[in-house]
Each structure stands twice: as structure tokens, then as C-alpha cells.
């Protein structure tokens, strides 16, 4: 593999038996796993191209145990990789050979449902969907809906700042969490925020969200819940050209309409999805938009009419409007099954995750077509069109020599193009190990050093999830050094008043 992980500490590996025993003293019974066979379940996450069994797995079930495990590891200089459900698509939970894998799977309890304050207080191992299910009887739900929501944990959602189809209108995880209990690498337990709208002081919750398990281990989360919209309807609109579909997206937004979801698929993705789920997708179009409007019925009906008019004006060639829940779900079935559908037409695929300004869509897709020619690999595109988040699926066969390397190079070029077009390397999957070495495409060394200084404030030893996010890990002492710029003792020649 092209990714280099931090060198294993042989002294730590040599003490494995002693470390396992010490962890067993903290987490008794089956909470410590050290057999090679049982640890295999943890050797990878959703980025399955990379595998590495951990030194040992520990599954605590109380905050105190998490604290003691981290305190022990900090004192002994042992690396720790936190893990939720292991659905990360960027390798955020890839274990280290000399590291403890700290699984939060036993933190499965919802601690409090508070309808009056419209919050749920939950343990991190609860799945995203389970939160919505727990409050559904009162008409509430938790808005961010990553496509893995049936399996992914809310703790992992916070670590990755997960998005989903509806985040254009309802925001990402960071816009929907209010507080947490977090254990630092030192073992210190901190409570941040609560049931109020805002925390006092620096927005630590904001920085923890999306920190990819490098700052601390979350043991409790307070999330905001919303009332479910009264109704939702979808339009499925086909276009002969990608440009026209892109224009349609821009005009909908320009008209002041923020759909609950607005998804685009290109021809290869449409064909793969239709072959898989038979949703009735038009096969003779180059781009398909699924636009969902949600809210009160009277509003949805009105907006459907407005969106249909915009689509017509943009030259849509087909337009279907859902008239029932069953039909709406059918429109979505193909999109939601796009990844497995592509999995059927290709032995392997890489799922990319760049974001571009919406207006750059046609040139981004043109570039992807060129790159597809260059690398001689197919590519199907699904796209959260409303917020510019592109998911090219690069098709390859791992059994053919050289193909995975070509696929990875293709993917890296797509992400470079996203940055070139004014976008970013990752919209919702995270940097992890997958995009780690591309970070300099977007950030200077000064930018990255500033981010790492934040890491130092939480974990000065750099023991928590090392090898992720940052291409080069600097020592904190080195980052804290102040370079005094000699000779510049006076303020420069600028206007004074």
C-alpha cells in the first residue's frame, strides 16, 4: 500500500503480554480481546483495501474504564485507536500493529430523551438510526442521515462530522450536536456543553466534531432532535446533458428553494442502479436529478410546481413526480443502492468524496471523463448536487496487477481537481488515511501546523490515532516554538491614527 503508517514501537510490542494483563485488570472478562482470530473482525473499517490487526482490542463499558485505559496507555507510551461501528470510508479506525484498539461498541444506551428541550442524551455506540427510532413515537427524528445510518454509531458520526442526503437543509453533525462527555488521552474526563443552544467559552464541541478520533474519546453525546416534516415528495428529472442538470440545480437554489435533498447521478450510475433495483430510471439520459421537497403539504405541493417549471425551463427530457410514499421511496431506492449496484458491475470500486462549488460541476465531470480515459478505468458518479459533494465511484479489479494503484492515482487526481476548482478534498467521509497524503494539495505547512497545535492542546504525546489526517506529525515542542523575526522590532510603515 502507498500509505505509510507510523513505525511500530518494538519495545511496546515486546511487552504485549504485560499490556494485555494490565488492560484485563481495568476491563474484566470478555472486554479484552487478544486472539488473532477474534481480532480479525477489527482489522479494517469501511475502507477495506487497508487491513492491519491491532496489538489488542479493548471494549470498555463505562467512562471510568475508558479513562483508566487511556491513562494507562498514556503513562506507558502506547498508541490508541478509537473505533465506533467501523464504517469509516477513509480508514479513520484502521488499527496500528503496536496500538490498542479502543472499541465503543458497548456504549449502547440512550441515557435520556428530553422532548421539552428537544434533545437526546446518548452513549456513543448507539446507531444513528436508533436515535431517530427512539423518538419517532413523538414525531421527532435526528436529522443527519449518513447512508450507513443503520450501522454507523453516533460517536463515529461526531468524530467524522457525518453528513447525508439531507444536510443541505438540515446541516451536518456539527450543526446538530450540543454537548458531549469526552475523555482525553491523559484519562481526564471533561463535560462540554449541554442542553443549551450555545456553550460558554471557546467552541470546543465544534472542534471535537470532525476531529477523526485524534483529540479524545467521546463517551456521551447530546444531540438536537427535530419534528419530522409533515410530508415529503420527490421529483425524478432526466436531462440529455449534465450541464443542463447542473443549471437546473443552480436555478432551484437561485430561486430561494432549499430542497430536503437534491441528488444527481450520471449515466453509468443510472444504468448500474436501474439494473440492480428496477426503479424505473430513464436509461437514455445523461444525468438524473432526484429532488425531494419536505415540509407541510401545502408548501411541498407549491414547491413541486415551481421546481417542475424550473426543470422544464432547463430542458429536462423526463420528469416524474411522486404521488405516494411508495413511489417516492422507489425514486430513492436506486440512488440509495448506487454503491452496491456499482459493486455488481465491477469486482471492486473506490468511492471518492470531494466537494466543489456547484457551478463547477460540468467541468469537474468533464475532467473525470478525461481521467477515466487516461487511467483506462470506468467511473460512475453520484453527487449530492445541492451542496456540491461529489462521489465518483472508480471501477477496478484488485486481482489485475496494477489496477488498484491506477485507481488510487485516478482518485487522487479527481481530488486534486476538486481543489483546483475551488473545492475541498473531502465533504463527508473524512481524511483518515485515505486522503492524508493529499492534505498539502489544500493546505500549506503553516495551515497544517496550526491544526496540529490544536491536536497538541488535547494530546501532547500524539498517542491518540496517530497516522491519520496529517501527512507529517510534528512534535508538539517543535510546533510551539516561536520564531522571533529578528530585525523587525518596529511596526512597519502603515497608516497610524
Amino acid at each position: 500500500m502507498a500509505i505509510t503508517m507510523p513505525a511500530s514501537d518494538q519495545a511496546v510490542l515486546a511487552r504485549r503480554a504485560e499490556i494485555v494483563a494490565a488492560l484485563r485488570a481495568i476491563v474484566p472478562g470478555e472486554g479484552v480481546i487478544d486472539s488473532a482470530a477474534e481480532m480479525r473482525a477489527y482489522e479494517s473499517d469501511g475502507l477495506t483495501a487497508y487491513r492491519q490487526p491491532p496489538m489488542v482490542v479493548v471494549l470498555p463499558d463505562t467512562t471510568e474504564q475508558v479513562s483508566l485505559v487511556l491513562k494507562y496507555c498514556a503513562a506507558q507510551g502506547i498508541k490508541v485507536v478509537p473505533r465506533g461501528s467501523g464504517t469509516s470510508l477513509s480508514g479513520g479506525a484502521l488499527p496500528l500493529e503496536d496500538g490498542v484498539l479502543l472499541g465503543l461498541g458497548k456504549f449502547k444506551r440512550i441515557r435520556e430523551i428530553d422532548f421539552d428541550n428537544r434533545v437526546v442524551v446518548t452513549e456513543p455506540g448507539v446507531t444513528n438510526l436508533a436515535i431517530s427510532q427512539a423518538v419517532a413515537h413523538a414525531g421527532f427524528y435526528y436529522a443527519p442521515d449518513p447512508s450507513s445510518q443503520i450501522a454507523c454509531s453516533i460517536g463515529g458520526n461526531v468524530a467524522e462530522n457525518s453528513g447525508g442526503v439531507h444536510c443541505l437543509k438540515y446541516g451536518m453533525t456539527t450543526n446538530n450536536v450540543l454537548g458531549c462527555e469526552i475523555v482525553l488521552m491523559s484519562g481526564e474526563i471533561l463535560r462540554i456543553g449541554g442542553k443549551g443552544c450555545e456553550n460558554s467559552g471557546y467552541d470546543l464541541m465544534g472542534i471535537i466534531t470532525g476531529s477523526e478520533g485524534l483529540l479524545g474519546v467521546i463517551t456521551e453525546i447530546t444531540v438536537r432532535i427535530l419534528q419530522k416534516p409533515e410530508t415529503a415528495r420527490a421529483l425524478m428529472v432526466g436531462f440529455a446533458e449534465v450541464e443542463a442538470a447542473g443549471e437546473c440545480v443552480a436555478r432551484i437554489i437561485g430561486a430561494g428553494i432549499i430542497p430536503g435533498g437534491m441528488e444527481m447521478m450520471d449515466k453509468p450510475a443510472i444504468h448500474a442502479a436501474e439494473a440492480f433495483v428496477h426503479a424505473g430510471y430513464p436509461l437514455d439520459v445523461d444525468a438524473l436529478l432526484i429532488i425531494e421537497l419536505d415540509g407541510p403539504k401545502i408548501e411541498v405541493d407549491e414547491l413541486i410546481t415551481r421546481v417542475e417549471a424550473i426543470a422544464n425551463a432547463c430542458g429536462s427530457t423526463t420528469c416524474q413526480i411522486s404521488t405516494s410514499e411508495a413511489e417516492r421511496n422507489l425514486f430513492w431506492a436506486g440512488r440509495k443502492a448506487a454503491f452496491p449496484a456499482v459493486g455488481r458491475i465491477s469486482p471492486d470500486y473506490l468511492c471518492m468524496d470531494g466537494t466543489i462549488p456547484r457551478g463547477a460541476l460540468p467541468k469537474a465531470l468533464a475532467r473525470i471523463r478525461e481521467l477515466s480515459e487516461k487511467y483506462q478505468l470506468g467511473c460512475a458518479n453520484v453527487f449530492h448536487a445541492g451542496d456540491g459533494n461529489l462521489h465518483p465511484l472508480i471501477l477496478y479489479d484488485a486481482n489485475k496487477p496494477g489496477e488498484i494503484e491506477r485507481a488510487e492515482a485516478f482518485g487522487a487526481d479527481i481530488l486534486r481537481a476538486c481543489v483546483e476548482f475551488g473545492g475541498v478534498l473531502t465533504g463527508e467521509h473524512g481524511v483518515g488515511i485515505e486522503k492524508r497524503d493529499l492534505m498539502p494539495e489544500m493546505f500549506t505547512e503553516i495551515d497544517l501546523n496550526q491544526q496540529q497545535r490544536l491536536k497538541c492542546a488535547f494530546d501532547a504525546q500524539g498517542l491518540l490515532n496517530p497516522g491519520k489526517v496529517f501527512p507529517t506529525l510534528h512534535r508538539c515542542a517543535e510546533l510551539g516554538r516561536m520564531h522571533v523575526h529578528a530585525g523587525k522590532v518596529a511596526f512597519p510603515d502603515i497608516p497610524r491614527f
Binding site: 421539552d116 443549551g196 467559552g201 491544526q451 510551539g480
Partner: protein, 424 residues
Amino acid sequence: MIFAGNFATAFPVDTLKVRDAKDVEEVVRAAIANEQPLEIIGHGSKRSIGHAMATNAVLDVSALNAVTSYEPNELIITLQAGAPLADVLSLIDAKNQQFAFEPMNTAPLLGTPALGTIGGMIACGLAGPRRIKAGGARDHLLGAHAVSGFGDSFKTGGKVVKNVTGYDLCKLLAGSWGTLSVMTEVTLKVMPKPEAERTLLLRGLDDAVANRAMTAALGSPYDVSAAAHLPYQAFRARTEGLGDIAGQGEGVTALRLEGITASASHRAGSLRELLAPFGTAAVIEDDASSALWAAIRDVLPFAADGALGAWPVWRIVCPPASGAALGAQLARETGGDVIYDWGGGLIWAALPPTSDAHAPSVRQRAAAFGGHATLIRATEDVRRGVEVFHPQASGIAALSERVRAGFDPKSILNRGRLTRGATA
């Protein structure tokens, strides 16, 4: 040589008006070399919030006032940090867009003339009534270029709405009161303005009942975008700007619905039915509605030119359903006035002047309800004696200090603004 000799006494305040990010870097580097802290200002509209800063040098970013780019169809705008907020609001208003978090205009409350700059809006992070639905400044800041206390320009975030590339330092910059970095350019999310708005007004509810009505409304499927309660006492100080809702000798509970016209009207009708047990709601529309919410956003009842203009004002954030219990207790114990926004989750409290602005009792009560309190308006004398910002648990305070030092190890930027006695 400006910085020769004893800075603290020998020279008057030196204001350095920077022209670009390079100037900011040079000023900060010179300040580091001289160990001379800087106060960072735009228009200075919120200078009276926080503690006096240990500095006699002012870094003025108001000349960094350009609109770098505005793309209405992308729903983003990129601005230099010193851009005047009033101009920016007109610019996006012309495209029928807005900052959805309704940034507060602190001028009436603080008795200052200016609305301030974009940088100030973000650094102070004071969001208005729609905070409960749309989030705060932190939720709308997509990217920033800034100069750290190392004297280095860095960028964070991007110019797209969906981005998880690297740590989201924007979240820290928003609400940092200029203590982490000097923002030079920012990219913000803009949102379409709603086509119509309707506000239901319930009259004569006491605080506790009003809180229950707001909770019922916010827990309904009608997508309430603002919920506030003005007890009748709050009108005694100043009724200007509140139109005819004041002066009827009754408290007013207000609930806002926004969207396309048909939807806002329809939901107003449904919500009116839902709230029937609390009384028969009157409905005001569009301009009358938006004027009321601007008055609530800017806390006009406690304005500096009103009868309570000399009273200290607290901003208390707490779990929304606890608002009335906390607010009513504070009002009763101190003889002060309160108004509630955010469905009870934000309490503005104007309390009779004392040497400590009732700080111990405000802090203790707020904390007991899971809230925190900031002393937004008080004389310099009072601020010398009490913490303006809510003191934090020791672990959080220590972590926050490590975070701050990671941006500004020599404490060059706005030294002492957040913590009393940290000015040495």
C-alpha cells in the same frame, strides 16, 4: 521607533491601520518581538464587552473592507474581515438573501453608533432569534484566512458548504472575541430570505406558562423559526421600536413562522389551533413581524437610551424549558427585568445597578439550571470587579488555555479580554 521605552505609560494608544494580510502579519510579528499585546478592532462597536485589555496598541482592520466575491447561486460570500456589516447586509438583501443566524445589532443596547464589521460579527458570535433553527455564526462560517499569534497567515475551511477536510478551526474563531487570531478574510453561508413571515402573539401569559407555550410550539411540526416572551414589566423601560404590541399592560409571547406565503399562513393557522389552550393568538405579518423580531434581536427594551439604560445587562444561555424558572427567579430576587428568546433558551436580564451587577447570584442560578451567563453591558468599574464571561470548570478552563496558547503563545491578541486579572 514606536516601541522604544515604556509602552504602558510613555506613549498614547497607537492605532495601526492595516491594509492587507501582509500588514497584519508584520504588525503581529513586531508585537511579538516587542512583547507588546495588541487590541484588535474593526469599528470598535463591541469594545465595551469584556475586560479592559492590557495594551496600548490597536490593530485596526477596518480598511480590510472589500467584498472578495459574492455568488448568490452558490449561497456563499467571501469578504475581508473589516467589511461593514451594514453594507454587506444591503448587498445580500438586494439578492433577497440574508445571514440566517440573524446577527444582533449591539448598537442600541451598548449605546454605540455603528453596527460593526463582519469580523466583529463572527468574533463575538451574537446570534439572533433564528438561532434555534438556523444555528449561530459558528454554523455559517465556512472558511477563514487569519493571522495567528505566531504572526503567520493560515487558512482553514473552504468556500463550499460541505467540508470535513482537517480540523474546523472556523468553529474556534467564531466566538473567540479576537483572542486566537486576526481574521483577514472569511467565507460565509448566505440563505434565501423567506418569502413571507407570520407571527402569532399571545397576551397576558406569565413566564412559566409562556415557556410552556413556546415549548409546545417548538415541539410542533410547524417549523417555528423564533419563539420569544416579553413579560409586561419589560415594556416599562422603553416601548419605542416595539410598535403597538407594547403599552397594553400585558406580557407578549411571540412565535414566528416563515416560508412561502401559503405555507407560512397555513402553519400560522395550525399553530394557532394548537396553542388555543394558552389563549387566542393575534397574527401580525411581514413588515410588522420583522420589526418586532429585530427589536427582540437587539434587546430594545433594555436599550441604552431607555429607562434601564444604566442597568447592567446579562445574556444567559440555558436549556430552553428551564428559561422561565431561571428568569423569573432572577427577576424576583434582584428586582430586575428579563426577556426570553430562543424558546426560553436565551434570557436577557437587566438588573438594578450594584457594584457587582449581582454576578454571584446570576452565575449560581444560571449554573444550577445548566446555563451560563455573560455580562454584556456594565460600567468599566463593575467589569473590573467581576468576570464578564462565565467561569469554566477547571479542566475545561485548562484545555481552553492550551488551545489559546496553540494559536497565540505570547498572548499578543486581545490579552485579558476574556478573563479578569489575566492582563499581566
